[in-house]
């Protein structure tokens, strides 16, 4: 039920993002979804990729600090109010969202929201109880 996400520490220097995407591209790794959080000094790039271990290895070899975290991917109909119903459910279940980002599936027409929770297992059971569709990692890596 959980999806593996890698995060990479990047200093605010020009060319760093280009370098990371180039390293991944050369290693034949496909990026499924991404989000970049930034401060004035540094940024954290979070990626869902099709080969987590390989991505981690090639980036570490090139001197990047890489972490792996577990996130939850929830599928919602790509229509007004879709995200709102999920957030209301989480709120009712007293689940905190640390951060989230979204992308739209290529064929299904659904939106996929990636959530980072502080209590991942509890979040999953709350969402499942309300019959939200939680994507398995394998499914997401193949999209």
């Amino acid at each position: 039920m959980k999806v593996e996400q890698i995060s990479i520490f990047i200093e605010n220097k020009s060319g760093r993002l280009a370098e990371i995407t180039q390293i991944l591209g050369e290693a034949g790794i496909n990026i499924r979804a991404l989000s970049l959080a930034d401060t004035s000094d540094f940024g954290i790039l979070r990626l869902i990729v099709d080969n987590v271990e390989k991505a981690k290895t090639v980036l570490k070899e090139r001197g990047f600090t890489v972490n792996k975290t577990e996130v939850v991917a929830v599928e919602v109909p790509d229509s007004p109010g879709g995200l709102s119903t999920i957030l209301q459910t989480l709120d009712a279940g007293q689940i905190n969202v640390e951060y989230m980002y979204a992308f739209v599936e290529r064929c299904g027409g659904n939106a996929v929201i990636i959530f980072r929770f502080d209590e991942t297992d509890k979040a999953i059971s709350v969402l499942k109880a309300k019959n939200f569709s939680i994507l398995k990692g394998e499914r997401l890596y193949e999209i």
């Binding site: 996400q5 600090t65 951060y99 980072r116």
Partner: protein, 433 residues
Amino acid sequence: MYFNEEFETLPRPALEAVQLKRLQATLERVYANVPFYKQTFDKAGVGPCNVNTLDDLQKLPFTTKQDMRNSYPYGLFAAPMEEIVRIHASSGTTGKPTVVGYTARDIDMWAELMARSFVSAGAHKGDIIHNAYGYGLFTGGLGAHYGAERLGASVIPMSGGNTKKQIMIMQDFGSTVLTCTPSYSLFMAEAALEDGFDFRKLKLRVGIFGAEPWSEAMRGEIEEKLNLAAIDIYGLSEIMGPGVAIECIQAKQGLHIWEDHFIPEIIDPVTGQRLAEGERGELVITTITKQGIPLIRYRTRDITSITYEPCICGRTHARITRMSGRSDDMLIIRGVNVFPSQIESILVGIEGVEPHYLLIVERQDNLDTLEVQVEVDERLFSDEIKVLQSLSRHIEKEIKDMLGVTCRVKLVEPRTIQRSEGKAQRVVDNRKL
């Protein structure tokens, strides 16, 4: 265990008697042979005959690095060139290097003091000493080398650099003692780990680290990553080279300075007044056996304190505390004295923080700013911004609480701060004063 038990454990009254006799002989020698000393002594109105007790040393003027530069290259030599068998020089980062000459007896004395130092660190005959101090004009390599041979150990003259080869040799040759700078030891351990090799598997038992200031916290880090006893050694080329003072492995509490050859004093770097036992100030050394280039009250610029308390190892020689910086490295930031080594101890005390840091000092609108760059490795890194920001704030607060200076912590990517194979560059001072 001692190398020269008689002299290393000489009761203090006897030791002081030896010091006075040797001091007087040295003063006679420099007054007669070195025009610089004749001039400065005459100007101060003192001569060798005015020094009748060890306390009288205070009447004599200081010698500085600038005096050595002014006498470049051979002006302070007290022996004719026919008797000088070796010449070393210190790195000339600012201007000309300082040049030192050794007679055969000086080299012999240095080898003995370095052999004493090895024994004090816990090394013995039969050890395989991997000497990664640079060989050349720098005194580190040859100084440690001669001492190791005098001890009767097997010395591998590696010199610095070529890290991969260093690791291979240590592994294949079964080195038991490592001599290099503390920062280079960590650099090698990191490099080994990158190649999937754990330094702790080596046979190394003792590491003798010097040539740059380091902290107690860094000792913990080195002992953990290299699995050896890390011993602090002190020396400077002007005085002799490595082996002027060293910790004993029994106490690891201060460095015994070989007082039958050197007289240490601690002074206030601003007023030049001698400070009491235990007070922190600049170390001043007078050499009392050297022939080639004896130095009288040489200002080392190193900051330390001294104690004459008896040590559990049985040596009677005074101990200086770990160098906490150099009086010329000291940063004054908004009126607060800051030594880079103090910041280092704070950083290493924080879980997961590596002792690789860079201090950048700027002056903006007449106000000094201090930026502390800290590398983020996997233990510190989080996918959440707030975790990293609270880490920065935590370090800023620790520095503020301990040193009273406000700084800004900047997290940087790992291995972006330069690792040095010699003396680490820790400070970039961009203030135009």
